[in-house]
Symmetry: C2
Subunit: 348 residues, 2 copies
């Protein structure tokens, strides 16, 4: 990834002041609430009468990403988007981010600039201001810590714990594609390691590769809610897989729930790749993660408003707690949904 760059400036060639300046000199603040951005002890944000949402996620090399196939610019973009997605999952509008990067001296100034290019691209696309940044040395590898700040009217915020029995369960987009993309990229990496002259064979897989390398936060779904006049009763973004997120909604709301396997939206490319790898496409959707779609519940009376909407799918409903949290298979078998446990922590 880095070898192709024509120039390489060592981090040590720039002073601390120089690096911060280099990486942040082109910032223009876009949001009125961004009172003070980079350049003081803390950013200053003014939310008047709205409520502030704030979240942070860490991405660590070798755990959450692999630079063999993840371009640095995409990495910067994704690090921002996964955080914005958390704000969106509260029905909020992301407004600011703060970025912290730890990089070993394996990384050049140009490498950091590429990451920041992706960060700024995401800021532009989502109309978000970068209001603080810190780059420190790490003893090994690269990690990115992003904090996202957003706003919402108090009455608009959607929590995880407020689903009601009988509510219908929806998901936006399709699931499992990011994981299918990861499977492909991992395979091509192995092929490349075995024979560096082999060209990667990724034709026709643009969609699922994009889902892995350049995910988006579904702000368009929030707009849809507004347009049709629906407020979900609970919502979460699908970062760890449908199984884990469903458990969050059910456990936090004190309910059980059912997902119908045949309703889970899976793209045809995802299904094809799953078949190639001899993995059940449902497993990709349930446990794959990184789709950043929205999983949400609505009350039954709102069903009419959403039932004909493209791009969202009803996949189940919420039940009494003692019915448990279950996947109803195509054959009608009831399979309890369980936490993936520590696998998620150590995954990849």
């Amino acid at each position: 990834m880095l070898e192709g760059k024509p120039t390489r400036t060592e981090l040590s060639e720039l002073g601390e002041f120089g690096l911060i300046d280099l990486l942040t000199k082109n910032i223009t603040l876009k949001n009125k609430s961004s009172v003070k951005g980079v350049g003081d002890d803390a950013a200053v944000i003014d939310y008047g009468s709205k409520q502030t949402l704030i979240t942070k996620d860490l991405l660590i090399e070798g755990v959450h990403f692999d630079l063999t196939y993840m371009p640095l610019k995409h990495l910067g973009y994704k690090a921002v988007v996964v955080n914005l997605s958390d704000v969106v999952a509260m029905n909020g509008t992301p407004k600011q981010i703060i970025v912290g990067i730890g990089a070993s001296n394996r990384f050049s100034i140009e490498a950091l600039e590429e990451i920041y290019e992706g960060i700024y691209l995401a800021c532009d696309k989502y109309n978000v201001d970068l209001v603080g940044g810190d780059t420190v040395s790490s003893t090994s590898g690269l990690f990115i810590s992003v904090t996202a700040i957003g706003e919402a009217k108090k009455e608009d915020i959607v929590y995880r714990n407020s689903a009601k029995k009988g509510d219908l369960l929806f998901v936006s987009g399709d699931l499992g594609a990011a994981y299918a993309g990861l499977l492909l990229l991992e395979r091509e990496k192995e092929v490349y390691k075995a024979d560096p002259n082999m060209q990667p064979d990724l034709d026709g897989y643009d969609y699922i590769l994009g889902r892995q390398l350049k995910p988006e936060a579904r702000m368009d779904v929030l707009k849809l809610f507004k347009d049709v006049g629906v407020k979900p009763t609970s919502m979460i973004d699908v970062s760890d897989g449908l199984a884990s997120e469903m458990l969050h909604l059910c456990l936090d709301s004190g309910l059980g729930g059912a997902i119908y396997e045949d309703k889970i939206p899976v793209d045809i490319t995802t299904a094809g790749v799953a078949e190639e790898f001899e993995i059940d496409p449902t497993t990709c959707a349930m446990n794959g993660g990184e789709d950043y779609e929205l999983l949400f519940t609505i009350s039954q009376e709102d069903f009419e408003k959403l039932k004909d909407t493209d791009g969202i799918t009803v996949i189940g409903h919420m039940t009494d707690k003692n019915e448990g949290v279950n996947l109803i298979s195509r054959s009608g078998t009831v399979v309890p949904i369980e936490a993936q446990g520590w696998d998620a922590f150590f995954k990849k």
Copy 2:
């Protein structure tokens, strides 16, 4: 540090849900503005008519701390305090923190609990709510990323860039002690490595060791400002050393400035250790860092209100830009203050 613990639970023994629960089960939210804490996609904070301050710092093993002599509980405490200090340096009141920890499987559950003990201790002492936490695996070592959120009335916020020519420069407490403490700890580490049976010889050094291992954010100084009715014209906390912070105040305010060497407050223990190590105590103060004292300017007319106050010292003044940023030595020599450059990035 870890060997002394009687039990060791592997991270893999707990599910993800279990760990978050274990580490956050005792939280009680203290601030009215903390609407929603741990347990959703994002924390929810309500600041009504005040402005929000937000900042984040990263602490990385092997770069910012060494677990040979830094107890995990102290590490947790310090990781919080250095962030609160950034809010305080804006004349704001810290209210919430979000914590992200990356830990390799070298660390047990008990180790993470010790870190969190220190985090909660700092939260209690500073009346701050932990409103979000994330623990992920790292491929090697430990790092902690803390985001601090605070509030202030718009008219109370003090920036770095608002000092005026002729303003007087003050610093709270004394400087260089945290660095002197670090020198001692590094020496004892070498002694221990050479002969593990040697007992560390740290008697009489409590003050400077405490400054390194358990720094505090100077909220008491903000109270002092309020009590005497002074608002600083600019302010910054001393995290990277007096030289670096003075450059920030001067460059950001478009001014020059002068610090008088003989006015810089240095504790007698610091001076003694500096002498032992054959380092100029002024160097400890100028370049040592990690003191987390407040460096601030006031207009001359406010001097009467502060001149007899214990625990703050006038050390210089702000000048015209073209006079430069200088240290006036004891002998009267004018020495330009320069950025430490990348040393700070790779220090330790």
